[in-house]
Symmetry: C2
């Protein structure tokens, strides 16, 4: 199965990378760009047929390694 | 409108960050995880009603700033 994990800073946490991208886009003339947020996507294959069980395992991976639960949230997608 | 840009290393380009994540997951006991790829997501708001025009503009942003076209590919999603 294929797992896709989106990791984003929680709302309210200053996204310095997003701010830098926004400033650069404005500097290139795209002035109307706003609310830029930069996150990570982690894609991988896992063995198993049960998507609910796979989701539980991937959430454990997020809590232990893939995301920083203090400042980041995540969203897990499981595809066959 | 809301734009979401996914940026990934092209197939065949060594993803050192993905390799590091994979090694760490194996070390934590998730041995069956394979083919880990780490990418970026950039989300932002843009002004306008025409989604085709918005897509063209966002693709120009990718080519000029958001992605490195030598080693990275990107996918653009535009939502109302």
């Amino acid at each position: 199965m294929k797992a896709v994990v989106h990791v984003f800073l929680k709302p309210g946490v200053l996204d310095v990378q997003g701010k830098a991208v926004q400033t650069a886009l404005h500097g290139l003339g795209w002035d109307d760009v706003d609310h830029v947020r930069v996150g990570r996507v982690i894609e991988f294959d896992i063995v198993g047929d049960d998507s609910a069980a796979a989701r539980t395992r991937v959430e454990a991976m997020c809590d232990r390694l893939l995301a920083n639960p203090v400042i980041e949230g995540y969203r897990v997608e499981i595809a066959a």
